[in-house]
Amino acid sequence: MARRVVVTGIGILSSIGRNLPETLESVLRSRSGIGKLRYLNSPHQNEFPFAEVPFPNTALTELAQLSDSEGYSRNALLGLIAATEALQHARLHELPPLRTGLLSATTVGGMDTCERYYNDFLTNDSKNIYIDVYDCADSTEKIADHLSIRDYITTLSTACSSAANAILLGARLIRSGRLDRAVAGGTEALTSFHINGFNSLKILDKVPCRPFDVNRNGITLGEGAAYLILETEEAAHAGDRPIFAELSGFGNACEAFHQTASAPDGKGAYLAMERALKLNGTKPSEIDYINAHGTGTDNNDLAEGAAIERLFGEKIPLVSSTKPFTGHMTSAAGSAEAVLSILCLIHRMVLPNLNLETPMPELKFKPVTELIRDVDVNLVMSNSFGFGGNDTSLIFKKYNR
């Protein structure tokens, strides 16, 4: 029997909260983090709404408890804050060390900083200390150094499924016996670079995103970071600490259809969800709630919806996308939504799909539009489907000894 992987710590920083308690508060009050860009200078700041973390880098530096943030990109700061919260939540610093890895995901890396200084990089020496901040590994290594994690570190990048894949990798390393603990998740800061990029694809909605709505018109970009502390059951029992959930299933598949679009039948989504269920022999009917990828694009919501209907048949679970709360956190989306899914398990609730007025006619199921409380939630599936057709599905289960 493969070792069970459980979650003992959670850290999250996004437009709806600096930490886990604030995040919970926001979702309970249906408070979305989408609004106008305040800190990033982008030519599109008046054109589209964004879910920006409501703190400038100076404030983030304080939150990260750094005396000096020289050489830290916003990306690294976001990641550091969330990863530190997760580690402290799991009280790992109180326990004797075990083999611990850091698996972090990001796509734009330090671009928030480098895009400002690109011209300087080419023409003068004034910004040289930021050159090495550019690549994806920078934030990971800064987090690793700060948290003293060195047994295994790496960085993943598979677009919007990145952080989910980091969690998947963490689970596999633990199950294989190579690690006892893993800090897994992702971080992404808003940048002009990718705002421009998504805009060139014409998939940014001018109003806050409306997943699964017939009038949906695209994504609302967000930013933030979220990490889970994964452990073996055995390691988790040390120190008399609570176990928040079990990671009972995971699956990855490739759509292999198009660089940025999903196949209309959602083949990749279907395969990813099916594989996640198959891992532990979970039956589709056992899933209580799906935290959908639900970006609000024409394409994703149709493909994902079709795949859900094909897989779950008659008994479709409750479904909602929480991107109207947090925006699309791209490389951090997979872990942020894993956090929200776990909150549903712990607090016996199902989060609503905000901004949904008119459900899509193509789908039989209607996403949940109001917060549901006092409901038995035992198994939650969280989907993250990325550009390049990289599809990952995670299943979290209420933990029973």
Binding site: N128, D132, A137, R150, T154, T155, T158, A256, K267
Partner: protein
């Protein structure tokens, strides 16, 4: 921990040397005096549909082509009447033939498509508002793994690692896990990075490279800080089953981040070897990542005069340059040495004659922060 062998059954390597044809093993050595080494481009049109290729930036073409070469290389020679699908791109037969049964596609890239990223940054700096989406899509790191999957119609596991000099090693580690879990019987694993003029200029400012052009074959004579930059695309078809095309087996991979002062590298390596049932004197050849950077090359000297003084020492970065996934070149080199049982003169660092080459260790380090080990065995 029981090792499940991962056999290297096919390799495609595009590099600054003549390596694109897998039937040849360093027939000649290319000498350059340059700021950075650039790969010898094969005829991409022979591997990629020309219409699709026109929209692809160079890195993507390097990745797809090396992947296809690896798959072709892993196809056993036809045995009387076997049908061997041609490599002409776009044909259904090709897609069926080459992609069938491929369980995973995993890429390691430290920087992704620098060309596309620069295009966008350049336009942004110039103040352009609405851009062509193609460079943006191609600038995402996982575009290589995904485009390979589209061409091969492979719906199975797909991932991309982007951690500097751990990128390729992380991909290999994932592959070994896949074989161990029984989740894969075949996997396509790649390490790819490119260098551009602008990127060299910028990173030269950060102190990575030599300050002016150097001669690659005399790389170690300069005795100055900085390495010679390079690039390359190496894809490996790995499988849990040995075939007639097998080069060698990859036994194990380890990455070490910021090694502790109290645990010197020779001890880490000795432990790594003993985990695999071997001692340092059983390593027949050790491939070292000397790159001409006087600040760090001494780390290799230490091993060469210590635990590996009896081993045949080999180096490779004079042929391919320094880049985050250069261990892809080293793995190609090690696999070919084991297959052909010969160490080309051009890569010899010392001159001991190992009569039988059975085990090879690759050791690379990047600015004494990212250290990695690969262990290969002849099979």
């Amino acid at each position: 921990m029981i090792r499940v062998p991962a056999y290297i059954n096919g390799i495609g390597l595009i590099s600054p040397q003549q390596t694109a044809d897998p039937s040849l093993f360093l027939p000649e050595v290319m000498e350059y005096t340059t700021d950075f080494l650039t790969s010898v481009d094969p005829n991409y049109k022979a591997f990629i549909d020309p219409l699709a290729a026109r929209r692809m930036s160079r890195l993507i073409k390097m990745g797809i082509t090396a992947a296809k070469i690896a798959l072709q290389d892993a196809t056993p020679k036809p045995h009387e009447g076997d049908f061997l699908p041609s490599l002409a791109s776009g044909s259904e037969a090709t897609r069926e033939g080459l992609g069938v049964g491929l369980d995973a596609i995993i890429t390691g890239t430290g920087l992704g498509s620098v060309e596309d990223t620069e295009k966008i940054l350049g336009r942004m700096t110039a103040g352009e508002q609405l851009m062509n989406p193609t460079p943006f899509i191609q600038s995402t790191y996982n575009t290589i793994s995904s485009q390979i999957a589209i061409i091969l119609q492979c719906h199975n596991y797909n991932s991309t690692y982007v951690h500097r000099s751990f990128s390729f090693e992380s991909a290999l580690q994932d592959a070994l896990l896949q074989f161990e879990e029984g989740a894969a019987a075949t996997a396509l694993i790649g390490g790819i990075d490119e260098m551009t003029e602008n990127h060299l200029k910028i990173t030269r400012r950060a102190g990575h490279w030599k300050m002016g052009p150097v001669n690659n074959l005399n790389l170690l004579s300069y005795q100055t800080p900085g390495a010679l930059a390079g690039e390359g695309s190496a894809y490996f078809l790995m499988a849990s089953q040995i075939t007639s095309t097998t080069y060698a087996s990859l036994l194990d991979v380890q990455t070490i981040y910021k090694p502790e002062e109290s645990l010197p590298m020779d001890e880490v390596i000795t432990r790594f070897l003993s985990d695999n049932g071997l001692s340092p004197d059983q390593v027949d050849a050790v491939i070292l990542g000397y790159n001409g950077d006087i600040r760090y090359d001494f780390l290799y000297d230490r091993l060469g005069s210590g635990i590996f003084r009896e081993a045949q020492q080999v180096w490779y970065k004079h042929l391919c340059g320094e880049y985050y996934t250069s261990t892809g070149f080293a793995l190609w080199l090690g696999a070919n040495i084991l297959k052909h049982q010969v160490i080309p003169v051009a890569v010899r660092f010392n001159n001991l004659n190992a009569d039988r080459l059975q085990h090879i260790l690759v050791y690379n380090q990047d600015r004494n922060i990212n250290h990695s080990l690969l262990l290969l065995s002849r099979k």
